[in-house]
């Protein structure tokens, strides 16, 4: 320790010729020190440097005559002796301090530094950030108790959380905690269109242990949402119809399309190949309804069709046809009294709206007409129903709610 201090001192006070210390020179000097004490010496060296700069002002250039130089050298020698004495004392004091006290002292000293010392400190410090610190010395999340780390992360938004998970493996495992992501999935913003879809999607990620992979559930929703918003999608084309398409429906496996020529085609949603063609309507198919394995069709031929594994179609031929999607057979033909504009079915009934201003309710199994609802003043163009009510729209410029609960 002592020798190194002296050595540094003698290095730094050789003569007046030396002008400003370049960064390189400072580095060289530093490297001669015991490496471990580098930060300690930094402070004292900066003092030293200041001295030399002072001398610099006294000796503006190297061309001064010899006499002046020797005088100054003498003074320097005296100064350096005094200085090395002081330096030794300060170092000794410093070593007596506790860690905390040293930090306080350094902070105090840093207030006294001017630009020259700061320059030295920055060049010295940049290569020594956290030297001798244990790994991840400032990594709060790793060092804090698990529950607190989780508490901190619970304030983050999904994007920040995902980015944090890239910080390190430990952060990754912290950020992957299911509860954090569950919270996001529960937000209304991240719900899927219906609770049914919500549940279906969540069930996909059920683990054997009965827990859910909330992170992956959220990731899927996030991906979906951002793709929608950015209109990122792939387009597949199904070719085969010879006339314009008038209506389409789909389920998980199939796409069903009706065309103005009266034919209905069933497509494989994955391979884009045509599975079958349903022929039976004599005019344009107006509307289709497919439910799981069933399909209902309505046609301008005034008919609709339904079945297990069914499709119902309505057509301009005033018919509704119910198709078996396994065989492609038309199972039933229901005859409406006008062009079938719209229809919907569930497991029991088919509802069809028609140009004849009526909504007709059909039994899906027998094809029997259950009732006819009349109230619209013009053709019924669209309808939707559930167990309790029907909502329908019409050319008569009105929307009607048919409520079965209140009677």
């Amino acid at each position: 320790m002592r020798t190194s201090v002296f050595k540094a001192d003698s290095e730094l006070s050789p003569g007046p010729l030396k002008r400003h210390y370049s960064t390189d020179e400072v580095d060289q000097i530093n490297s001669k020190h015991d490496e471990k004490k580098i930060s300690l010496h930094g402070c004292f060296q900066s003092d030293n440097l200041q001295l030399i700069q002072l001398h610099d002002h006294l000796v503006p250039n190297a061309d001064l005559d010899q006499q002046t130089n020797t005088q100054i050298q003498k003074r320097n020698a005296q100064n350096s002796e005094l200085f090395s004495h002081k330096l030794l004392k300060v170092s000794q004091w410093f070593l007596e301090l506790t860690d905390d006290q040293r930090n306080i002292l350094l902070r105090e000293l840093s207030d006294l530094c001017n630009s020259s010392q700061w320059h030295l400190l920055s060049t010295m410090a940049s290569s020594n950030w956290h030297r001798d610190c244990p790994d991840n010395c400032c990594d709060l999340l790793t060092n804090l108790p698990f529950t607190i780390s989780l508490y901190i992360l619970s304030f983050l938004d999904p994007v920040s959380l995902a980015r944090s998970s890239c910080v390190s493996r430990l952060w990754y495992s912290l950020c992957s905690q299911s509860e954090l992501w569950k919270k996001f999935c529960r937000l209304k913003k991240w719900h899927l269109s219906s609770t049914q879809f919500d549940q279906q999607q969540i069930e996909k990620y059920r683990l054997d242990s009965g827990c859910f992979e909330w992170k992956r559930i959220f990731i899927e929703r996030y991906r979906l949402r951002s793709n929608w918003l950015k209109s990122r999608c792939s387009v597949q084309t199904f070719i085969g119809h010879v006339e314009g398409i008038s209506c389409v429906q789909f389920d998980e496996k199939r796409i069903i399309s009706g065309c103005t020529g009266g034919s209905i085609k069933v497509w494989d949603i994955n391979t884009t190949t045509e599975i079958m063609t349903l022929v039976g309507h004599s005019k344009a198919v107006r509307c289709l309804f497919v439910d799981g394995l069933r399909l209902v069709s309505g046609s301008n031929d005034r008919s609709i069709k339904v079945r297990e594994n069914f499709c119902v179609s309505g057509s301009h031929d005033n018919s509704i046809k119910i198709w078996d999607l396994k065989t492609g057979q038309c199972l039933k033909t229901l005859l409406h009294t006008g062009v079938v504009r719209c229809l919907q079915a569930d497991t029991r009934i088919v509802l069809s709206g028609s140009d004849d201003k009526t909504i007709k309710v059909w039994n899906i199994e027998t094809g029997e007409r259950l009732c006819t609802l009349r109230n619209h003043g013009d053709g019924v163009t669209c309808l939707q129903f559930n167990d309790y009510m029907i909502v329908s729209g019409s050319y008569d410029r009105s929307v009607k709610l048919w409520n079965f609960r209140q009677c």
Binding site: T142, R163, V167, R169, W171, K188
Partner: protein, 210 residues
Amino acid sequence: MATNVEETYLYSSPTTFKVSSKDGEIFDIDDSFINQSKTIKNMLNVLDIADNHMPIPLQNIKGTMLNAAIVFCKYHKNDLLSIPDDEDEDDFERDAYEPRRSDDISEWDKEFIKQFTVEEGTLFDIIMAANYLDIKALLAVGCKTIANMVRGKNSDQVRQMFNISYDPPGEGLNTPRNSVTSKESGDNQLLTTQEKESRCKTPSPELMYD
């Protein structure tokens, strides 16, 4: 109800107690501190401290942190009622529909927490102190501050901020996967961090968080 009466009895009188820190500093604490620090409150209920002059040793906390905590509690003694009951805090269902906010730190708290830094480890110390003393409000301010530091930064910046050495993925859970195949075969594999990050960087925040 009975316990409430007992609590009131124990320190209803304008008492001050003494506590001593890890490094031997001794502080006077008053009601403001006792009421906010559950640890001290429970301690006083359990221990029968007749002699007020005997300091309670708090071996886990440095003097500077203890002092700061006392200052914090003094300032916050009046908004005691607004602090939510911590029993509900563990109930994840409760705030499931409401994201936790961290942008609601008051000006005074912001200034207060500024004296603690990541680099010196003091922010860590004050959070640990708040945790040990069980001062909810202080813990929340500390944690929110860290969350605010992390928010909006990329992983490089976070690593730099907390001096974290990067352990690049490539083995174990972090094995990178071809993202093209991820849609189909993803069911039995974990998503890699890269995938997630790249995905998160693409969508613009305006669209996501309008």
